[in-house]
Symmetry: D4
Subunit: 235 residues, 8 copies
């Protein structure tokens, strides 16, 4: 199984075969030069690139090896994505505006991995009628990422209303007894609605990745495609 | 300020004056004889009695000093209640059947303190339409106790829909990452809906007490009374 | 039920109907421009505005859409309040000078929501006679907010002396085994005096809101009004 | 949306429509009579039944309303399952013999929900060659449940080797610094391999449910069927 | 420095010289025979004996080697105490009846170590006037042990009123967010009144020991002795 | 009982009567002007002043009302101390150089309160012979403050060797699993040597205060005075 | 690499090659029949057997397949050990009598793995001179297991005095703020003496195993053998 | 036993005798001047010096007393090492690039203490084939340091494959539910593979020290020396 030593890292080129998607670069703690060096090697063997948790200053270094790299401000991510065909089927839902960066990280990740993403933001349980307005789109999704900080109740509520798998992402948005995201993490792990699984606090990448993996598996793209057309009144 | 030493306890007879309701006996850790001895002293100075967290075996000892004492099986409480006029205005809502004992402790407490209690049980967020069916009753309440274990999301959802104060009670119903009720406790403390305050895990008594205190203060008893009559369609 | 999408947020205009008070803006994590944009929309439909956890730099942006906006330095809040009639009945008590910002956030919130607030500051249990001096005012309140950091013992003591509901607010003031406010939070949740409910650490807003809601419900405004006149000796 | 009040519970008959599978009965904390009463109502409207966390003594009561009910000893579950066609595609992997009950709960749940389950038990990282022997089966799965107590490292390792979504279940098997399953829970939430999501400690049901939901969505049943035939050497 | 090996223990006979009091036997986890064997050795070299956390069944075994051993039911301790002269100066205060066993362990320990103990029990902050009634006795003490469970606020209040050192003992009496005594432990560590130090949860022995050590050091026995005589009205 | 309102604080002038020492100013979170205002009032009624957790910039403001104020760099404290007679009897022991600021805060506090302090610094258990060298001084102390971070083992060891009360102070010096001082805090609370009580993490003030209170009570000043002269060989 | 499926377990026969010692059976959670079945298979391929955390009732079932099996009461372990030659060099030190079962588990494990074990029990820091008496034996060891509950200070002290690696084992012996062994665990992880590593709470097996592995590596068996002969005075 | 007081520290010159290696300077919290002063004293009595957790700015001060001092950038350490003969036998393995500084601290420490270190970096379990490529080197080591953040699974996997003792170092690399390294710490303490012991979070020094101590003890240097020569194909 192939991998490549570039001094400070062992690149796992075999990952695309095993996992169906190449290695993703966690930008945090790496210099722009290190990111660019890894990116160059990965792009030599694949079509797409994703760097997460990275400042905009990294874009310049990356442009030298990947001129078409794009910086996503909210998501704090950089992507190169040469494949423009996206399969519908992933929804990203988020409770409050403070959870937006994590939701965007999830959305960018799923997009880069080949899914078209529907978004429903700022629909937390304090005004639950805002969520009900989005239900039609949620009910045709193959995988739903639900991002929430503070009390983190939204994934339970969503999972009670849909049949698709819900990937819950607790965020560190909050204060006091949120304890850095521990509160919504525990909430989501104890969800009384079946069909919920949880990723790490603020891990938008992990949730978007998993949603895209599930969507890739799914047999019903047409449902979601229809979901983008006007819907009838029978619901 | 009067109090009475009966050997193993200092009875605080002045409490009815300060607090508007006499001392309540926490049954846990007391013998039936101790409970009966305290009860006798308290009933000599007041009309009502409440013993919480007590087994049915305590009833017999208590009957000797309070023949009309009643045992509430679900609530694990004993009450003597000579005042039958109850002011409407308190609702007790509960998420799952496992939370029922705590909800009943809240209901019995509020009843003994002079409030009529409306109940909405087993209406957790996994099937949130069950809650919406009860909204009319909740919207006329002066104080709402919401009891939930597991992820404890219900108080946030309820508080997003009503104007009355919500007293949230986390319960130890759950397992694993519930950590004995820590999960719903944190959820409720981080509620994104304003108008929620929280009491200790499994503290149905504290919540029912506070709801009754608020209801006693409230100026709109007639709303709630009307709430018990057929309602029109404008809501 | 109406709500309005302004790009980065879904404004819940229906909230004033459901909750009796319009949405409050949590300033933390929003730019002055975002705060001003939301404020403009909310003020188009209501008389009052409250922005919490906000620096003074936000005031300038807000002045453009709300010229009469006021910045409260201690509370770190901005308010617009066109309704000057306030119902007496809310007291805010605070243990130490370090708890003052949270107490002021509670007071400003309750004021904006239509309550007149009596304050008793720096009356912690290390010198409990200072509290006893304020008891007359506390005993005529309809709702009492008690703010304390460090060991957080004050709400228990207050609740043992009055009949009104006590909304306890733990603060992160302290060090070491305070663990960011965990210590007073647990203290307050375990209060042995009945009639105490707790909100999140440093959540002055939530406590002030709940106190105002309870005061709005209450039938005894005149007691508190009398409370502002000279009181006789019978107490 | 239909639901039915049977005194101590509000049955959510609409759930099968919303979620694609009827309500599951959590046996813990319910009497055999309560379980049987709920089961009778649910079976009147559906073909299958699942009761989890239930002792064998409950079977007798259930036999009266569901003569073909089966008790699964390891899983501590009861099922009625009239639909014998199962779609291949779910694998359940478990680290040690102490994790077996949770793994079996996952397997029974997925089976009742229509998935055929391949099992790979006792393949923990202390002897990782045992896992490699099972890789062919894992690589054709649509969803993989990985159950582990103690240090909970297995899901990371599995997810590094396959492309299917991994549902990780921490168990309370362990002692000391396992802290009731907290250790493997944190391990799994911090998994460095993408494609892992986590459910509550000991929540075999939740993991099996989610795996079956994903498998139901999946387009590649034939892969897994082929997986049961001899495979060539190209892997 | 002398010590003696008796097979399962190394007896530290030198301790009486170093510490001014011989080794105390922690009964928990030892058989009656082991306790008796150690007791016999210790009594061979000293006048007093204390066994803590021990059932009454141990008394019989101990009577064989120490016929005058006494069992203290509430304190769950056994003592042999040949020295009847006690120096006044230690007070033991306790908040609720559930804290009584820990308070009694403290009192028995201090008595065996040569101090006369004044007791003020069931004087928790829910009815703080009960404490004020005991203040005269507390103000002449050289060391005060304050025992409290639940929110554990009493030591702060006491220390705000007296000049003697306060040894605070949190107890595990409580439920829910008491977390086995963690709540009062944190409360006491964060006490805002100076002059408070804390021992382990339920460690009545440690507190009584320390109070007796301080009292032994103290120069003002006469104050406390006068404290046992009728006091005038000027306080 | 007298107290004085100066706008932002209620000064407790009665404290010197109740506690034997005037109020101490916690500098943290107060402006130099606030500190100076409080200091002026306190000095008007007493001879000494102590301000803790304060930067040197505060000294200038304080000099205007208290020209003889002294800044203690290591302790981060300011004192005014007109009474130069100090009673011997307090020792302050500290484990490592990182614990020095906390040890110095304890020493300055005890000095201001009238005790002469012997110091034994950098004598942690990694080289325990350094402690044994100081034992003579420790054995004549009336009260010993032991300050330690990291594993916090020193108080147990010291308390096993002396008869005086040991006031243990955990510090936040350390990293990783120290968790901000939680590790040494728990260590000290679980000390197997009797005679140890614990104050909050980094609370040098509280420990020095308590040591001085105990020393003030003590009858054996002469021992400690002798302790400053050459000692014979009999130990 | 060989392994054997016996239905409920995958036996890792290759482990003896990889690790130098065959698989050890964790008795907890296995029936006597399961233990015996695994034992029979393991003994068919090796000379020794170790079963930990097992009751004496398991011995009978084991005797059928391993007639020379021995039950170790304190250690709660069963061993078969056909190789009687033991290499000196392992010491097991334990703080209190309550830690004895864990210490014995370590000792039995190291013995079965071929090391001769020197024991120093009940030498906790409350009477540290008892430890100094054992120093000669400790200084010739190749690996030292130090077992302690409560505050867990002993490993730091030992590691400050010797050059051999110290394997620290926290135990759950203690109460209150021990939190099931968390206190000594944190103590040991923060040890200020270099040369300490820690295993799980109560994990005597893990410590004994590691000590034996280190001793097996060591070049100085003769030192330890000499250690059993009279030593000169130069130490 | 010799030690030297230099004002702010008690230097433990005897440590080299007791422990076989002189005191190491923890740079954190010391000024460059303090570090240089201590270093000068230590170098006066020994050949080597190690300063950990130190910035490069300290090097200049140190050069004055130790001109040949070297700064290790990744490890944030300074060393003086006059003894160039190194015994092979220590391996340092690390999971991700973010763990590199801790791994380097371990490597530098072991080198200064006389061991030659083989390194295997960036071989985490997400691509476990990278680890297998390094197995030959690991199997001839006498002691292996394994450094990992996030889920910390690597030590278990390594210990399942080798016979040498594994010293596991959790790092604070990670986010969210890593809780500053708590997650990998618990993972490693619960390792199911025998032969693992754990040091504090980020404590590369402690692990490198222990590995060098074990390697110094070991009898098989030649294996590892052979490991530095070209290896044949038979492995």
């Amino acid at each position: 199984m192939p991998f490549e030593n570039i001094g400070f890292a062992e690149l796992d080129h075999h990952r695309a075969l095993r996992k169906g998607f190449p290695e993703v670069i966690l930008g945090e703690g790496k210099t722009p030069e290190q990111v660019a060096a890894i990116a160059e090697k990965l792009l030599a063997q694949g079509d797409t690139l994703l760097v997460t948790r990275v400042g905009k200053d990294c874009l310049e270094a990356l442009k030298k090896v990947a001129p078409r790299a794009v910086y996503h401000v909210e998501a704090r991510a950089i992507s190169v994505d040469r494949n423009k065909v996206k399969k519908p089927g992933v929804s990203v839902v988020c409770a409050g505006t403070a959870d937006l960066p994590v939701a965007e990280e999830a959305a960018v990740t799923a997009e880069v991995m080949g899914s078209h993403v529907e978004k429903a933001y700022d629909v937390g349980v304090a005004g639950i009628h805002r969520l009900f307005d989005k239900l039609d789109a949620l009910r045709v999704a193959n995988a739903i990422v639900v991002v929430a900080g503070m009390e983190g109740a939204l994934p339970s509520v969503v999972a009670g209303l849909v049949s698709a798998p819900v990937i819950a992402v607790p965020t560190s948005a909050g204060y006091g007894a949120s304890f850095g995201g521990l509160a919504p993490l525990l909430t989501m792990l104890n969800a009384c609605s079946p069909g919920v699984a949880v990723v790490n606090i603020d891990n938008g990448f992990g949730a978007g990745y998993l949603a895209a993996v599930i969507n890739r598996l799914a047999a019903r793209p047409t449902d979601a495609q229809k979901g983008q057309q006007p819907r009838g009144g029978s619901r």
